[in-house]
């Protein structure tokens, strides 16, 4: 059985990505980088959903991923709008 058929391998990658993203949110101070880190986390979750869906032979996980994609797109729009508008009123972006 090749390793790519092991759900564990996918889940470990997903866990690593999620924690890397979480670390990015916690240690970086630039809101745009924090925002990108959140995208990393959401993608890691999607990866988990996909792996589970594949190995459980159910498409519920796909549906979830589908929805997360939509929601993430919406969050991107709102989040970037807020960050850009702060830039317009204040010429320094930094979050502690």
């Amino acid at each position: 059985m090749p390793i790519s058929d092991h759900v564990t391998a996918y889940l470990i990658v997903s866990a690593l990505l999620f924690t890397i993203g979480a670390m990015g949110v916690l240690v970086r101070r630039n809101p745009l980088v924090m925002f990108m880190s959140i995208e990393l986390m959401l993608n890691a979750v999607n990866l988990s959903f996909m792996a589970f869906a594949h190995f459980l032979n159910s498409v519920d996980g796909w549906m979830f991923v589908f929805l997360v994609l939509t929601v993430a797109a919406a969050e991107v729009v709102v989040g970037l709008a807020i960050i850009v508008s702060i830039f317009r009123s204040r010429h320094e972006i930094d979050v502690d």
């Binding site: 790519s4 470990i12 670390m23 970086r28 980088v33 190995f55 498409v59 929805l67 709008a81």
Partner: protein, 177 residues
């Protein structure tokens, strides 16, 4: 024994983790955004390995395409305002690193020790789509419109409200007047 999917998986996995680290650690924000684009593409590669071609395409379209472009735009619009702070990392980065490492170890341990449960659950997984033929699109469509015992049509429709809120919000926040 190394077969093609395994090799592909290893390459993509290393690419994913590497680009994710690069996004988090790179001091140049444009580099971070470009690494993010590579990351999104690599994630689509994993989905192909998992036989979910449709999701892979959507991933490329939305994430690698739209989201990356939006992030680059945001960087462009705010470039002059980026903090010139000497240290782009928060003071307690080591604390965060410890917490995150603990989190990663916990999840990986749980995942590793639950392997058998997952494989046995495989047999008893819900049978909604067990008989479904065809690719990922067909199975998704069935789950939406020809359900066996449940259907995701309501959240699917309600996602439009999420988008409506985002549209209204972008206009409210973005419009200058």
């Amino acid at each position: 024994m190394l077969d093609l999917p395994t090799v592909a998986f290893y390459i993509i996995a290393i690419l994913l983790v590497g680009t994710a680290l690069a996004v988090v650690l790179s001091r140049n924000i444009v580099h971070a955004a470009l690494f993010l684009a590579v990351f999104f593409g690599a994630a689509a590669g994993v989905y192909v390995l998992l036989n979910a071609e449709f999701i892979a395409i959507v991933q490329v379209l939305i994430y690698a395409g739209a989201v990356t472009i939006l992030v680059l735009f945001a960087i462009m619009l705010t470039q002059n305002a980026m903090s010139r702070n000497a240290n782009p990392f928060a003071g307690q980065w080591w604390l965060a690193a410890i917490i995150c490492a603990a989190l990663a170890i916990g999840i990986i341990y749980a995942v590793g020790s639950s392997k058998m449960a997952l494989l046995s659950a495989n047999a008893s997984a819900n049978m909604t789509t067990a008989g479904a033929a065809g690719g990922s699109i067909v199975r998704l469509g069935q789950l939406l419109y020809s359900p066996f015992d449940y259907s995701y049509v309501l959240p699917f429709e309600i996602a439009s409200i999420v988008l409506l809120v985002a549209i209204v919000g972008a206009i409210v926040i973005g419009r200058e007047d």
